[in-house]
């Protein structure tokens, strides 16, 4: 089978290695430019099931801020990001929100939970 050369930029960590990859079909046969073995996992993922962490906000009623930031517990399939955002947009929480609270369980049936990434205390009457 013919070898194909492709370039990737690994996004696993802030280093952002530029990867020169030789592929046979969808199998990595050679890689240059990676600083660690996570580069191989990244490219394999990009070829077969690209995923991304998604971070956004949900509405909160009665909190010190009108929003709570949320994130996917683990990366979700890239093609489903905008479906997920549409689901998250419908959610409204009531303060207090605690960091780690499950905002949506098993989002879109992916098995991945959506979690709050900070505390949103109740807004007191005084302030």
């Amino acid at each position: 089978m013919a070898h194909e050369h492709r370039k990737f930029i690994c996004i696993t960590c802030p280093r952002g290695c530029a990867l020169d990859v030789t592929l046979e079909g969808e199998v990595v046969v050679q890689m240059e430019g990676n600083s660690c073995k996570r580069g191989i996992d990244y490219v394999t993922g990009e070829l077969n099931d690209p995923r991304r962490m998604v971070t956004t906000t949900v509405r909160v009623r009665g909190g010190v801020h009108p929003l709570a930031p949320v994130y996917t517990e683990s990366p979700i399939p890239k093609p489903r990001i905008f479906d997920l955002l549409a689901v998250i947009r419908k959610v409204e929480l009531k303060a207090p929100v605690k960091i780690g609270d499950v905002v949506i369980e098993n989002a879109l049936g992916t098995g991945i939970n959506i979690l709050a990434s900070r505390n949103i205390p109740v807004k007191s009457e005084a302030s």
Binding site: C10, V64, P69, R118
Partner: protein
């Protein structure tokens, strides 16, 4: 309840300030206070809701607020005082801090060691001299980030972003998530100024076009931004005629660099490096002013918060050690005071331990001549520490007296010694 004097006061409760306060307390500083302008701790991390934080320190990929929360919780467990919603107005080289807050009013605080952790702020339109009209709809990327992530409103629908810094690219993705269209990211340099991974996961993933060596030639619109005119530039950063393009949009975001925020540092006499915009520091993160330390983006702009935390830890440890030494030193020092018929005494201050090594010589001048025998007496209140005699004294002739090593115990009891010259 605030104290009047602290071992360590930290100005700014972002990642650098939180780390410095925590480490100062753990190192043994007794009283630590964090002064913060915002109504909550955490600094800019609270609006950085994206992930990518903590890989170095926690070996975990965390969102900004979660990273901050870790340190906020740790701080709370250490009984560190916090003063929120408070503005530090001035700091002096003697480490007096003047602050004001809605709840506490005007405050004057003293500290043995001071940590500057004010972070940085964004370059604005004025600082890059963008031509064109001055309509609504021009924001820095960080301001837009606060609007979208904390306050809950969108500053526009169609965006152009000038600058390929990390905040700009992250906002391009964020705005796309919230239904906006990001028409273009323009970068004046021939290279990306943010992290490459952000180019991939913020721009490439969402087909947001990036143009290097391009800038905004003109902002168009009267009440509101209607479009921007972009232009390509050559190696000398001169616009290339004929490459202009009108890009319709309603909002222009600027992600054109960060500047360490050092107005307070200047007031305290801290010298700044014109290249970084931050204080000159030594390996302890101490500035040129003894007892004033600095850490984080106030020193130079970092690209990873983990490194800011590490700088804060280092700085906090050294600030605490300075304060502890200062406190110990303070109890060991005795002031020399001019008593009857003495104009001044040198040295002004004496380390009590110095007598363990040798006798200590005091030198002075009298106020008035006495042409008959006198006692030169070193007193601790009514207790005489030592004395000698002179046949006469005159203002023009310096008088010496040695405190002998045998006076060690007497000196330990004193907080102040006075020297007097009296008739026998």
């Amino acid at each position: 309840m605030l104290k009047e004097r602290y071992d360590v006061i930290v100005i700014g409760a972002g990642p650098a300030g939180l780390a410095a306060a925590i480490e100062a307390k753990k190192t043994g500083a007794q009283d630590v206070l964090v002064v913060e302008r915002a109504q909550e701790l955490g600094g800019i991390l609270q609006q950085c809701i994206h992930n990518g934080f903590g890989l170095l320190i926690f070996k975990k990929d965390m969102p900004g607020p979660a990273y901050a929360q870790h340190f906020i919780d740790e701080l709370a467990g250490l009984h560190i005082d916090t003063l929120l919603d408070a503005m530090a107005l001035n700091v002096t080289s003697e480490r007096h801090v003047y602050a004001t807050s809605r709840t506490s009013g005007f405050l004057e605080l003293d500290t043995r060691a001071l940590v500057l952790a004010m972070g940085c702020r964004e370059r604005t339109r004025a600082q890059i001299a963008l031509p064109g009209t001055r309509p609504a709809g021009v924001y820095t990327a960080g301001t837009a980030q606060r609007f979208v992530n904390i306050e809950g409103f969108m500053p526009g629908k169609r965006f152009v972003i000038l600058g390929s810094g990390d905040i700009g690219m992250i906002m391009a993705r964020r705005l796309t998530f919230e239904g906006a269209k990001v028409e273009r990211v323009l970068e004046i340099m021939p290279f990306l100024t943010g992290l490459t991974r952000n180019y991939v996961q913020c721009l490439l993933d969402y087909d947001i076009p990036l143009q290097l060596q391009h800038t905004v030639k003109r902002i168009i619109g009267n009440d509101r931004v209607e479009a921007i005119e972009s232009v390509q530039i050559d190696k000398q950063r001169q616009p290339i005629p004929g490459t202009e393009e009108i890009i319709p949009c309603d909002t222009l975001l600027l992600s054109v660099g960060l500047i360490p925020e050092n107005e307070l540092s200047r007031k305290a006499g801290v010298s700044l490096d014109p290249v970084t915009g931050g204080p000159f520091v030594d390996e302890k993160m101490q500035t040129n002013v003894p007892g004033i330390f600095a850490a984080g983006n106030v020193v130079h702009v970092y690209d990873l918060v983990d490194w800011v935390t590490q700088a804060g830890l280092l700085c906090g440890r050294n600030a605490a050690q300075y304060a502890i030494a200062e406190r110990k030193h303070h109890g060991r020092r005795v002031k020399m005071k001019a008593g009857d018929n003495v104009r001044y005494v040198v040295p002004h201050v004496l380390d009590k331990e110095s007598l363990a090594e040798s006798a200590q010589r005091l030198q002075m001048r009298v106020t008035l001549p006495i042409e008959e025998p006198v006692w030169v007496e070193v007193m601790n209140g009514e207790e005489r520490v030592t004395r000698k005699t002179e046949l006469y004294v005159r203002p023009g002739e310096m008088v010496n007296i040695d405190i002998p090593q045998s006076a060690y115990d007497a000196v330990q009891r004193a907080s102040e010694l006075s020297v007097r010259v009296v008739r026998r």
